[in-house]
Symmetry: C2
Subunit: 390 residues, 2 copies
């Protein structure tokens, strides 16, 4: 096991009806800005419930900021920062999925940046310039990214198509309200994307090389098996409470730092996927379904031991020689994604070999030239991965 | 899945050499009281390392309190509270196992109790009177109780043999340093007890009835399988780093609140076990090895579904009818404990049927008359359990 330093202070308030606990979780005299995306939280009643809950124990100043995009942009978020300053906001409340929570983290950091510092430096430094942040909480509506219980985010600069991650220990939500019922009205496509996202988050922290970290391996395998068991039902039966509860908790646990503590981590699938979103507008979760099977194929030697463990413990594949078991595990992974309605090939998005050079160039531009758990996924290897994803 | 409210703010600094990070974790100007048990941390060098690390970044006021017993007593701990007041201590550092950390939690709470309040009220109220506590950290030397990452403790009143648990959200350690090397010099008996303790903590939160909490079940099963895999080696090969690392992390994860969030919990084994320690001085872990197999036997109908799941997922028992599989799972559990050198019968401690009445009377005295996940373990059922443990 590798050494690690783990702390996650976020309070999780989980279950049906938990929005009613919101008022006790937000500081009593806070001036609150509620941030959300499009009209869905307005249409499905979540926003009304949140606004009512905030006033439950006495009047509060509550403002709203809407229009945070699925891949939140620096440009939009800077308008929220301006509103924070104008209205002297001192608490942020994200109502939405990973994009809204990621965006709220950026606003929390940017609002407390010294005036001398350009907010873009948060992204340029991947969060290292953050020395202070507004406190914030979240009401989760879309299980996928884990942003509700971690301290990272991803923001895109619309002008340049740069999609950049950042993190800081100051960016854990103070609390997150996770009510599975809030997810019932999600489009099936977003649920499917969320299952893939949680699955690939787990794989990025699991499918590397063995370091005899047995608890972490078992926990990761438990999340993967759970997602395999519930994934199709989560998409097909939106109002099955326990299925959605298991999806929500799996997605949160997949990226709250716990399963990644003390083990090597990969993240190449995410970094290559980010360029597919930035250049071609493919949903984040869907980019992962394209890239992961190709990573497994191209990296089968470097990941051999863990691929065999994954085949046995997640898919019960025990027959055949080692290579056949690895082939079967990759095929099962691909067909799991496809069973959710998520395609796994660049060709499914009308992207051919000519799309690869610009993607590799974008990786190079963003410094993504030494990816993977051994930092040996060079631009050439990324090219092989994209070719395997055609 | 049941609703839950989960938060665990303790920072875990894990791995070989992590004591060197102590100085950065204790507030710079704190007046520190280091609390420990007997001479073992002095003999094996841990205490010297801790004291040196505390002075690493400049001189600090550091006092010591030694003599916290394996089942820490109210009487001893009140002497530590007095020292806290006399020396104006404002930070506590526990160096030891669960008893030292539990005792430190009690001291942290008692030191900040209003003068009008008797410290015994902390135990009488099971922690509800706690409104403030001194901050504290821990350097763990014995993997077992999970106290290093939870907010509970158990304290005994020597005069009356009352062994009482308490908890408060104010009693999470600010940090815990978990260096597996610190466990190398433990006696084999304490390591074996620790394996049993972690195993039974997991079972108390797992072996109840199904609520379709798949992540929690998989995580619990992962801890149980890990303990089964590493237990014998943890006892037999004290200097195998990865084995001890896996034991330490399993024991911490077994009782930090995570696997118990959103599921029913039992704790009857612990409550009955506490009376065995209080009346007969049997080590805590060893009492659990006596009581758990008897609980599984007596409660086999109430726990039927989970017993079958446990048989299959932890022990790979798939053949035979349901009752045969349950019998096999109980037998495997018993022989696992015995393979560690931990006996599983009252008779192994020269206790016979005549010991049962006083134990049941003690449970009644302590209000333990509705134990178990359905509160239906009455004193009569506890009697049956003790009879099954003869």
């Amino acid at each position: 096991m590798l050494n690690f330093d783990y702390q996650n202070p976020t309070r999780i308030i989980f279950g049906q009806g938990s929005t009613s606990k919101l008022s006790r979780s937000v500081p009593p005299k806070a001036r609150v800005l509620v941030l959300y995306g499009g009209g869905s939280v307005r249409r499905n009643g979540t926003l009304d419930d949140v606004l009512a809950a905030l006033q439950q124990d006495g009047e509060r100043h509550v403002a709203e900021f809407s229009g945070i995009e699925p891949n939140p942009t620096f440009e939009t978020l800077m308008r929220a920062v301006q509103q924070v300053h104008e209205e002297q906001i001192d608490f942020l409340l994200a109502v939405g999925g990973g994009s809204v929570i990621d965006g709220t983290k950026f606003v929390a950091a940017a609002a407390r940046l010294p005036a001398s510092e350009d907010a873009w430096s948060i992204l340029e430094s991947r969060g290292r310039v953050i020395k202070d942040a507004l406190p914030f909480g979240a009401v989760l509506t879309l299980p996928a990214t884990g942003s509700e219980m971690n301290a990272g985010g991803v923001v895109t600069r619309a002008a340049t198509h740069d999609k950049i991650s950042f993190s800081s220990r100051l960016l854990y939500p103070q609390f997150s309200i996770l009510d599975p019922v809030r997810t019932y009205t999600l489009p099936a496509r977003q649920v499917a994307n969320g299952v893939v996202d949680a699955f690939v988050h787990t794989m990025e922290q699991y499918l590397t090389y063995p370091v005899d970290a047995r608890v972490q391996d078992r926990f990761a395998e438990g999340l993967l098996r759970t997602l395999v068991e519930i994934g199709p039902d989560a998409v097909a039966r939106p109002e099955d409470y326990d299925t959605r509860a298991n999806l929500v908790w799996s997605a949160t646990m997949a990226l709250n730092g716990l399963i990644g503590a003390g083990v090597p981590q990969d993240w190449a699938t995410h970094m290559i996927g980010h360029e597919l979103t930035a250049l071609h507008g493919i949903d984040h979760g869907r980019t992962l379904a394209i890239v992961l099977p190709a990573v497994m194929e191209v990296r089968r030697e470097a990941k051999r031991d863990k691929l065999l463990q994954y085949a046995e413990r997640v898919w019960d594949i025990r027959d055949g020689d080692a290579d056949a078991r690895i082939d079967a595990a990759i095929a099962r992974t691909r067909s799991f994604f496809e069973s959710l309605g998520v395609p796994t090939r660049l060709g499914d998005y009308q992207l051919g070999a000519d799309a690869i050079d610009p993607l590799v160039a974008a990786l190079e531009k963003h410094g993504m030239t030494q990816l993977g758990e051994k930092q040996d996924i060079t631009p050439d290897v990324s090219r092989q991965i994209l070719q395997a994803a055609l």
